[in-house]
């Protein structure tokens, strides 16, 4: 509604239902992780490393061209029928995993500390079949073998790069998933890592779930459980800081008494720079406290932090 004196406010008429990640997504995430590392003493070193990893992801994304490329018409049918076109089970064995891992490690190598260097060597020396096995476990949300668990987030980081690449060659944005698929990524079918409440004028107050793998965001109504879609017994749990502590955490757990699960939610009105995957890692304390309390189990899928149940 534009006229000579400016624009009349129209409110949100049709917020975008699916938002694909920016080409610079890993760089944004790296900056956010670095900010969080400086604010979060107990997790500082871990988050700094994760920031370096995200920086390396951005470099790998820009510099490397994978050996496998999909057919130009490969995704048309899935898009037409509302199925995730980049389904992880369909593509996990065909993507150029060794190439992606190699590109990521080369970008990471220069920045990594002494303590983490052996991880990179170990991952380079891993037979391709074992690497593919780790990738399958990561994508299935499994915790894998203890002696390989330290490598899995690096494999996961390479997979995130591979999928973000694919997201960017999709012929169009998929529609919002329907029915049983409602809480799964419309691009790759993976579960969400967390959700975010937007402050952007086009979708102010709208909640988006964000994919733990490809960072696609999709619409889900506010104040319903992303797992069972009930809303009667939802509680928003967060950390109550001690008096005098002014570093208020933006993280809330949307905890459902009907199915006993929780997913984190980050209102950007509280912290405008919140990025679900980065903020999920930085709010580990909330998970630990909920874990001790015992009423709810976590549903968020974050392949950069793998914990055995």
């Amino acid at each position: 509604m534009s006229h000579a004196y400016g624009n009349a406010p129209t409110g949100i008429m049709h917020p975008p239902e699916v938002r694909l990640p920016d080409i610079e997504h890993f760089a944004h995430r790296a900056r956010r992780l670095q900010d969080l590392a400086e604010r979060n003493q107990p997790l500082g070193e871990f988050l700094t490393f994760m920031a370096q990893l995200a920086t390396a992801q951005q470099v790998a994304m820009e510099r490397f061209t994978p050996g496998w490329q999909p057919e130009p018409t490969a995704f048309v049918l899935a898009l037409e029928h509302g199925m995730p076109p980049l389904n992880v089970q369909a593509l996990q064995d065909v993507i150029d995993l060794p190439g992606e891992v190699d590109a990521l490690l080369s970008a990471l190598e220069l920045h990594v500390g002494e303590a983490q260097r052996p991880l990179l060597t170990a991952l380079r020396e891993l037979p391709e079949q074992t690497g593919r096995q780790l990738a399958r476990q990561v994508l299935a949300g499994e915790a894998g073998e203890t002696h390989h668990r330290g490598l899995m987030p690096l494999v996961a980081a390479a997979l995130q790069v591979a999928w973000l690449r694919l997201v960017h060659i999709l012929p169009r944005t998929p529609e919002r998933p329907q029915g049983e698929l409602r809480a799964l990524c419309p691009c790759c079918g993976s579960p969400p890592v967390a959700s975010v409440i937007e402050t952007d004028p086009k979708s102010s107050g709208v909640r988006y779930l964000q994919c733990g793998l490809c960072a696609t965001q999709w619409y889900l109504e506010r104040s319903i459980c992303s797992v069972c879609e009930q809303s009667g017994k939802l509680d928003y749990l967060s950390l109550a800081p001690e008096a005098g502590d002014d570093d208020v955490s933006v993280a809330q757990a949307e905890a459902c008494g009907d199915c006993g699960s929780y997913l984190k939610i980050f209102p950007r009105a509280v912290d405008a720079k919140a990025e679900p995957l980065a903020d999920d890692l930085a709010s580990l304390t909330l998970d630990l406290l909920l874990g001790e309390e015992g009423r709810y189990r976590r549903s968020g899928f974050n392949p950069l932090l793998i914990v055995e149940d």
Binding site: Q116, G150, G189, L237, E308
Partner: protein, 197 residues
């Protein structure tokens, strides 16, 4: 190949699992994070969907209240915002709706029936039973005195024009149905459900 849809998995992410987590396996000690949880306790909030009661548009609102299941105290409401999922209002609120929190907390908010007797200038609190009894009595007396069965041309009209009813603006369909049945079956014609107050 069959494409399976991933199933959502739940797991416990507690202190016990951190020793064998990928974080520990990558050389980052989880102990400081585990130790830090004793500085915190959990605080809960509830978000309830409702409708703004000011006018017949009935904009969707989300009402935030402190406490969890155990606490159900209306005074604990601390924030209200437009519901972005509401098909009519899409998250927008007019200035009246945006001020709903003050309306809920207002000192002059009517919380129980009150009566100001004829000739008096004071409001007196009465019980709901007394209020209903008095209203019914006044309605019956007025209806008995003024009910019209036929108009001047001799047509049956069965109406009651000396009493009117002003009902709430943002009623549910069910409430509106009941309100309508009561008012119309008494023959009442002056009746509005859009209270622009």
């Amino acid at each position: 190949m069959t494409l399976r849809v991933s199933r959502r998995q739940f797991f416990k992410l507690g202190a016990a699992g951190m020793a064998t987590s990928s974080m520990a396996m990558m050389g980052f000690a989880p102990d400081p994070a585990i130790a830090s949880i004793r500085h915190f306790k959990l605080t809960g909030a509830k978000i309830t969907r409702s409708n703004c009661t000011y006018c017949s548009v009935g904009c969707g609102v989300l009402i935030y209240a402190r406490g969890d299941q155990a606490i159900n105290n209306i005074d604990d409401i601390y924030h209200i915002e437009g519901d972005p999922d509401h098909p009519v209002s899409r998250g927008s609120l007019c200035p009246k709706g945006a001020g709903l929190l003050d309306y809920i907390r207002s000192d002059s908010r009517l919380r129980y029936p009150q009566v100001r007797e004829a000739g008096s200038n004071e409001w007196k609190r009465i019980s709901w039973d007394e209020a209903f009894d008095r209203i019914a009595r006044y309605m019956k007396d007025d209806r008995d005195a003024n009910f019209v069965t036929e108009n001047d041309e001799g047509n049956t009209v069965n109406h009651w024009t000396t009493t009117g009813m002003l009902a709430a603006s943002a009623s549910t369909n069910e409430t509106a149905y009941c309100t309508h049945k009561i008012a119309r079956s008494l023959g009442m014609v002056a009746f509005d459900n859009q209270a622009r107050v």
